[in-house]
């Protein structure tokens, strides 16, 4: 039965949210007028607040309705049908939310509401900001709510509703013409690549970062609008930190997800979707630096305005890029086009024009100093740092926008065939590597100048120790890696050496600052901690990407190698089942296909599972035990967690011991082979392994001709080069997957086959069911044989066995080493800690109100000391 109520409630809530946002925006606008403020009239503000709360509750109602539709498997709704399925676990139902564009807009709306409520309630002391800031907040909400409005007026479609019914979405489908109340029984399911725990938390974090970047923007615009050109910095600063850290963590979560789930062999692919978030993050971090410089020396106010506004506009641009479909061929994972590009463009253009107009109009009024900064002035280096960050952002932006230039030129009638660089990694690295070098140098020297008194001699004193440590430590690493074989790389590339040395210097310089602050005021050291994190991330990226090493090189170069023998990397090797191959210092062998079974830790060999008609259940063919603990007995029914995924057991043997990896793959009917790596973590490197190709499981196996053998109990035969012993037969009561009735008889043959690694037991079954002869052959995938029990000659005690042979199972595998990738993750965590420390500190400063001045003085004193 179609439940239209829940969708109607949801759709009505969207409309309420949209209207309430308009009311809140207008009322806050009225409340922020000078005459309203001066008259002490709070009625507009009260109205605005109520409207914003109504808006907030409406957003919650939309979320509730949409989740209910997914949770209750209401497939009459397109959203549930296209993003969910019956077997989807609850935690992935949350991910369904943001697989679709509408749900991710909803998430964005939600975070704005949450932050808006915080802002309304936290600014108790500083009421003056609430009205203008919230006016901008509500104004943004109008635009985002309009994206999911789903209202059609004539030919004009405003937004795409998540509550559209299947029958309305595809009104042409014959099934709905026959029966308008038809409800599909199962959904299309969530994209298997998104079925990963990181995908449950990565999008909310990223969108919280998106939402948080609106706060400094709103303060900046409110400052321009109300003529408070300097006051906005203080409340905006902790929020800028918050936005930068959530965005940064969100980006890195995405990177880690890509590392773990996708198989391009790394964490960053310079895909436009990744770049789209990286660009505003860089600019926002640049903005934080100019704001902090302004707080100390009253310089850089205009730059702060520009950078804060730009970072928000770049977030809108990112939204436009990933959602409008403009990237087309250029990106593998942007959203599908919902026909919202016009609306998205309007959203972006409205705020760009508004912000730039306000800025230009007030430009002359923004205080600026003509004071020249000396070279030993920390602010000078902070501004250079911000400039480097912006240039780095500009470079990524210039390249990522290539599809946009094409579209724009096409729009004005010029045909353009520009494409993204063929080797994107080389292209971006060429610039970003040097940006990294510059940033590392600047964080070191800039921080030292910032905290030590800025003159030549004290600076020399401060820099000596970190420099000496850097030289000592880096020469040690360079010598050890080149002359001795203790690292998984040889640090001999001069550019890499440079990046390594300057990053080390940044670590030591910032560490010396922390040591200095330890005795004074450790809470001030957030900046130093964050900078250490960044420097460690640079080191981690340098080693893990610069010295990423493919160890599955296939040098056996066979038939085709004549063509271009030298230039081609042969990165994949073929592994036959149970045939070890030497790879680097490992002896690698592929040992079989495994599955995840509910209630059993690790993976269970498919040979132990008898598949039933329901893909999600199987019957145990033997005891299922892990480390002596028996989880299931023979014949038990098991629940499979994800039958579409196969885990390929790959054993790595080396003199130091053996370990197993289970790279995963599934052949998806819509998306082809989806392979995810399995990663072995060592202290100094990760070993990253994924399958590149597997034999198509949907293709019928090509069994060779049937060979018949007549045997007696105890006979030995040779099958496909393996020795097999026929032990005899026994009667059995049950045949897995077959309903035995009275009068049915089943016997199984017991055979033992001696494989390379172990003995295999085969039990082909011969049965008489309903007066008919039935046979259940036994397939031993490891050996590539199928054994059928053909007949019994009861008089002579002879048995007829049929054997078919096929090609053995194989996988094609790629494996690589990622040295010191751990340093990248550790650096990320340290950077986040530093940011959080800075938020706490800036927040105290911000709420300190007039108590700011003496504190700032104290800071200075600390620096003097």
């Amino acid at each position: 039965m179609i439940n239209t109520l829940i969708g109607d409630v949801g759709h009505a809530s969207v409309i309420v949210a949209f209207v309430a946002a308009i009311v809140a925006s207008y009322a806050y606008f009225m409340a922020s007028r000078k005459q309203t403020e001066e008259s002490g009239d709070t009625s507009w503000r009260t109205l605005a607040r109520s409207a914003f709360y109504v808006h907030g509750f409406a957003v919650l109602a939309i979320i509730f309705c949409l989740f209910n539709i997914i949770y209750e498997h209401r497939y009459e709704y397109y959203y549930a049908w296209s993003h969910s399925s019956n077997h989807l676990p609850v935690h992935y139902m949350i991910s369904c939310f943001w697989e679709g564009q509408e749900g991710s807009f909803l998430l964005w709306l939600f975070w704005h509401v949450a932050l808006g409520v915080v802002l309304m309630n936290s600014g108790k002391k500083n009421k003056t900001w609430e009205a203008p800031v919230m006016a901008i907040f509500s104004f943004v909400q109008i635009f985002i709510a309009s994206m999911i409005l789903g209202v059609v007026i004539g030919d004009f479609k405003l937004g795409s509703s998540p509550f559209i019914l299947m029958r309305d979405f595809m009104a042409d489908a014959p099934v709905f013409k026959m029966d308008p109340n038809f409800v599909p029984t199962d959904g299309n399911g969530l994209n298997p690549l998104l079925q990963n725990y990181w995908m449950v938390i990565h999008p909310p974090t990223l969108f919280l970062g998106y939402a948080a970047s609106l706060v400094p923007f709103a303060f900046a615009i409110a400052g321009l609008w109300k003529g408070k050109f300097t006051e906005w910095i203080r409340p905006a600063l902790p929020w800028s930190h918050f936005a930068a850290v959530t965005l940064g963590i969100g980006i890195m979560m995405g990177a880690y997800w890509a590392y773990e789930t996708l198989n391009f062999g790394g964490y960053w692919n310079w895909d436009p979707v990744e770049n789209a978030v990286y660009i505003p993050w860089l600019v926002l971090v640049g903005g934080i630096h100019t704001m902090i410089a302004y707080r100390r020396s009253k310089q850089g106010l205009r730059a702060s305005f520009i950078l804060v506004i730009t970072s928000f506009i770049l977030i809108l641009y990112a939204t436009f890029l990933t959602r409008s479909g403009i990237l087309g061929n250029a990106s593998v994972h942007s959203f599908t086009d919902l026909g919202l590009s016009g609306q998205l463009f309007t959203y972006m253009a409205a705020f760009t024009v508004l912000a730039i107009a306000l800025l230009v109009y007030n430009w002359k009024k923004i205080p600026a100093t003509d004071k020249e900064l000396s070279t030993y002035n920390a602010e000078f280096w902070v501004f250079i740092g911000a400039a480097v960050l912006c240039l780095a952002a500009f470079q990524v932006l210039a390249t990522t926008s290539i599809p946009v230039y094409n579209a724009f030129l096409g729009f004005i009638g010029i045909e353009s065939n520009a494409a993204l660089p063929a080797d994107q990694i080389a292209h971006y690295t060429k610039f970003q590597l040097w940006a990294g070098v510059a940033i590392a140098i600047l964080t070191g020297t800039g921080q030292l100048l910032w905290w030590k008194k800025a003159n030549k001699n004290s600076f020399k004193d401060a820099i000596t120790m970190p420099l000496m440590l850097t030289l000592l430590f880096s020469s040690l690493v360079i010598i050890l890696s080149n002359k001795f074989d203790i690292f998984p790389f040889k640090l001999d590339n001069p550019v890499y050496i440079l990046l390594f040395v300057v990053s080390l210097f940044a670590v030591f310089a910032n560490f010396s600052i922390i040591l200095g602050l330890l005795q004074k005021k450790i809470t001030l050291s957030g900046g130093a901690v964050a900078h250490i994190g960044i420097a460690l991330m640079l080191i981690g990226i340098l080693f893990s990407s610069g010295y990423s090493n493919i160890i599955s090189q296939n040098n056996s170069g066979l038939l085709y190698s004549r063509e271009f023998p030298d230039e081609i990397n042969r990165d994949n090797i073929l592994l036959w089942r149970n045939t070890p191959v030497q790879m680097d210092k490992f002896k690698v062998s592929y040992r079989g296909q495994f599955q995840e079974v509910k209630g059993v830790p690790g993976y269970v060999n498919k040979e132990l599972l008898f598949q039933t008609d329901d893909a999600y259940t199987a019957i145990a063919r033997g005891k299922i035990k892990v480390e002596d603990k028996v989880y299931y007995e023979t014949g038990d029914t098991l629940e499979l967690i994800s039958p579409e995924n196969t885990y390929y057991q790959v054993a790595y043997e080396s003199p130091e011991g053996e370990f197993l990896l289970y790279p995963r793959a599934q052949v998806n009917p819509n998306m082809g082979l989806l392979a995810s790596p399995d990663i072995k973590h060592f202290v100094n490197k990760d070993l990253y392994t994924h399958v590149s190709t597997v034999p198509d499981p949907n293709e019928e196996k090509d069994w060779g001709e049937l060979q018949e053998y007549e045997v007696m109990a105890g006979d030995t035969i040779v099958l496909n080069d393996y020795i097999a012993i026929f032990n005899g037969i026994e009667q059995i009561e049950q045949v897995p997957g077959v309903q035995m009735a009275e009068g049915d008889v089943a016997v199984q043959a017991a055979m033992k086959i001696l494989g390379e690694r172990k003995e295999y037991h085969a039990h082909p079954v011969l049965m008489i069911k309903d007066q008919m002869m039935g046979r259940v052959p036994e397939v031993i995938e490891d050996l590539g044989v199928r054994i059928t029990f053909l007949n019994i000659d009861t008089e002579n005690h002879r048995f007829k066995i049929g054997v078919n042979v096929t090609q053995k199972d194989y996988i094609i595998l790629k494996a690589m080493e990622k040295p010191f990738v751990n340093i990248l993750w550790i650096g990320t965590i340290i950077m986040s800690i530093g940011f959080v420390m800075a938020i706490v500190r800036r927040n105290q400063e911000g709420s300190g109100g007039e108590g700011r001045a003496p504190k700032a003085k104290k800071e200075r004193k600390a620096q003097v000391a």
């Binding site: 400039a387 240039l391 210039a398 063929a422 038939l559 042969r570 998306m671 590149s692």
Partner: protein
């Protein structure tokens, strides 16, 4: 001249440098004919080519060569570009699994001798893009 002006000039110069390099690095969508011409001129820049797989009258793909037993890192096929020019393409990687089902293929690489050596293959599969049809099928189940 003030220091800040000098810095400003440096920043602008760097920005211009970035734009120039980006323009230089940017690849182009071309036909095989252009790619061959480029190779003959000694220009080894990598290009993008959009095309379809060569098929016979029955719709079977022809000229696809992949035998993992012989060499898992060698995959060759024939691509027909928008000018209906047929070209042999070699890809030194395993064959992408859903290759046969692709509607359109975008390859990146360059001509080397008489074959196009691709280092990236992007497939456009019908299911991903013409979602509506598939939906009808499933809905009708």
């Amino acid at each position: 001249m003030k220091k800040s002006h000098i810095i400003g000039i440096i920043v602008i110069a760097l920005a211009i440098g970035i734009i120039m390099t980006t323009a230089g690095d940017a690849s182009t969508y071309v036909s095989f004919g252009d790619a061959i011409e480029m190779a003959e001129d000694g220009n080894s820049t990598k290009v993008h080519v959009v095309g379809r797989l060569k098929k016979d009258e029955q719709g079977h793909i022809v000229g696809m060569q992949y035998d993992p037993m012989l060499d898992p890192n060698y995959f060759a096929f024939t691509l027909v570009d928008t000018n209906r020019f047929e070209q042999r393409v070699v890809y030194y990687n395993p064959k992408p699994q859903d290759f046969e089902r692709s509607e359109q293929v975008v390859i990146t690489g360059s001509m080397q001798q008489d074959v196009f050596v691709a280092d990236k293959i992007l497939l456009k599969c019908p299911s991903k893009y013409v979602e509506k049809e598939i939906q009808q099928n499933t809905a009708a189940l």
